[in-house]
Every structure is written in C-alpha cells, then in structure tokens.
C-alpha cells in the first residue's frame, strides 16, 4: 500500500516536472524583436532554432547566411533555420542550465542559462564559459500569433 503510494507520488512528481519544464517549448521573440526562436525538446534536452528574422535578407537582397561563423565551412548556412541554442537541461524551478547559445551577429558561442520569469517571459543569460560574471542577460517574450 505504502509502496504503491510512493510509486504513484514519484510518477506524479515526474510528470509535474516534465509539464513545468515543457513550458519552455514554443516560439519566443528576442529582446530587440529582431528574431523569433522556436524552442524544442530533443531527448531530455532543449534546443532553439531561429525561425523568423525581421531583416532576413542582406544588403544584396539575398537571405542572410552565417557569415561570422568561426568555422569557415559553415558560413554558407542560412541564418533562418540555424540552431542557436543547444543542450539546455532542466534544473528545476524554471531554470535551464548546461546549454550554450550562439550569437550569429558575432559568431561567438556562450554558456547559457535560462530562467523562466512566468509562462510568457524568460531571461536568457549568456556568459563566457567559465566566467559567469562576464555575460549579458536578455529578456525574451513568448510569441503568439
């Protein structure tokens, strides 16, 4: 009886945690409104892909590509569709850690932390890996059509 109760409680807690972490899923608008990022779950990790840009084309009218990527072989990949957030794991209490975020404007990758402020707002912190103090936090808002 007691074992059944503990088992049911554990399963219930697991489901509740999944529901809580999955609030991160969906489309988010970056702080400056220049892009929308779709956050998805693959396995037990969270990834984000740019799906919309306010200015999708370069000065020649061609779709922007990842020209600043430090890996030359990746400089032709389109900015729209680029997976800029990788490997975030849910820690609890609305916080996701151990991921990284790529800034295509600078071609740099930062260690990331996401804190959900509520269901429709999150703080995205990017810092130089190993130097938590050296970073920047931006606020993203859930995009709804």
């Amino acid at each position: 009886m007691m074992i059944s109760f503990l088992l049911v409680s554990a399963i219930g807690m697991g489901n509740a945690q999944t529901q809580e972490s999955d609030k991160l899923l969906g489309v988010w608008t970056t702080e400056d409104g220049s892009a929308r990022v779709k956050i998805e779950k693959i396995g037990n990790k969270y990834f984000g892909k740019t799906i919309w840009m306010k200015e999708p084309n370069d000065e020649n009218g061609k779709p922007k590509v990842d020209v600043n990527n430090p890996d030359e072989s990746l400089r032709n990949q389109p900015r729209i569709g680029l997976r800029i957030m990788k490997d975030f794991e849910y820690e609890g209490k609305g916080v996701f850690k151990n991921g990284n975020i790529y800034d295509p404007k600078k071609g740099k990758t930062y260690c990331g932390k996401i804190t959900m402020k509520d269901d429709n707002h999150l703080d995205m912190r990017g810092n130089i890996c190993g130097f938590g103090m050296l970073g920047r936090t931006t606020s993203w808002t859930r995009y709804t059509e």
């Binding site: 779709k38 396995g43 990790k45 892909k49 919309w52 729209i80 569709g81 997976r83 990788k86």
Partner: protein, 173 residues
C-alpha cells in the same frame, strides 16, 4: 644473457597478444521502416522532425558473430526516406539529417538539398562517415531532421526512414 632473451621474447609475445590479433567482422544492418510523423498543423519554414531509433543491437551482433563490447567503427552508408499516404516531398525544400543522443552532441549525417520534385522516396547523400559508436552505446538514439517546409498541407506527414548501417567489431568467441 639467456634469461634476458627469454624475458624479451615473452614481452614481445605479450605485446602482440594485447595488440589484438582477433578477427574483425564487418557487416551491414538495415534499419527499416522507422516511423516519422510530422504533426499538423505544420508551420512553413524551418521545422525539426525527430524519431527515436529502436534497435535490438544484441541480436544484430549475435547474428553476425560480433562482440558488441568490442566495436571498432559504426557508419551510416545509406539514408532513405519515403512518404506515406500517396503523397510526395514537394513541400519540402531541404532535408538535413542528424544523429543525437542525450550524452552526445548532434552529428550531421546527410543532406538533401534541394529535395527533388514529384518523388515519394528520397535519398540523402551521406556527407560525413563519422564513427557513430558512441551513439550506439546509449539507451536512446534520435534521428533529427532539419527540414525547410514550404506551403505545408493541413494534415500530418507520415514518413518512413530506412538506414543502412555498417558495423565493424571484433569477432565473438
């Protein structure tokens, strides 16, 4: 002097044995009909499509008399996708196929760009024959497809993936 020679010969034999003179088995295995569903409504633009690969590797290795604990190399040789329900891939612009597991980074396997028109079966060019052994020691492997979809239909897409995997492992005793 004689003792030293005997010791050297023994050491040489030990080195030879530890280098592994065991025979290496190479074999291919077809993973067929991996079900992939793209739920409706599908949004136009970049989409991530995922499917978990379910494999009974123990049986595969046993059937090929290979030791699963002594894998040398695993590569993907062929990647093929087919659309069900009499539909084709005309709404798909590009297809990039990746491997992923929780403990390993995503690895790009192949690409189809542009996706040929009027086809209900498409094959990806395997761009990188990376050693995927580390993925096959994980409990779950995911096939991740980054697809650019234009003018999506209002109904879900049902696809199948077929993979030809080449294994190289020590022969089992």
């Amino acid at each position: 002097m004689k003792k030293r020679s005997v010791f050297a010969a023994l050491a040489f034999a030990f080195v030879l044995a530890s280098c592994g003179s065991g025979k290496v088995n190479e074999f291919t295995h077809d993973i067929k009909n991996v079900k992939i569903k793209v739920d409706a409504p599908v949004t136009p633009g970049p989409n991530t499509i995922q499917a978990e690969l379910k494999l009974d590797l123990d049986s595969v290795f046993k059937a090929n008399k290979a030791n699963r604990q002594k894998i040398k190399n695993i590569t993907i040789e062929e990647l093929k996708f087919s659309m069900e329900d009499g539909r084709n891939f005309d709404n798909f612009e590009s297809f990039t196929v990746n491997f992923f597991s929780d403990a390993n980074d995503m690895t790009k396997l192949g690409i189809i760009n542009p996706v040929p028109k009027g086809q209900n079966t498409i094959s990806a060019t395997v761009t990188e024959k990376a050693n995927l052994s580390k993925y096959f020691s994980e409990p779950s492997i995911f096939l991740i497809i980054d697809a650019n979809i234009t003018n999506p239909d209002s109904v879900a897409y049902n696809m199948n993936a077929d993979l030809k995997v080449k294994f190289s492992a020590n022969e089992s005793k």
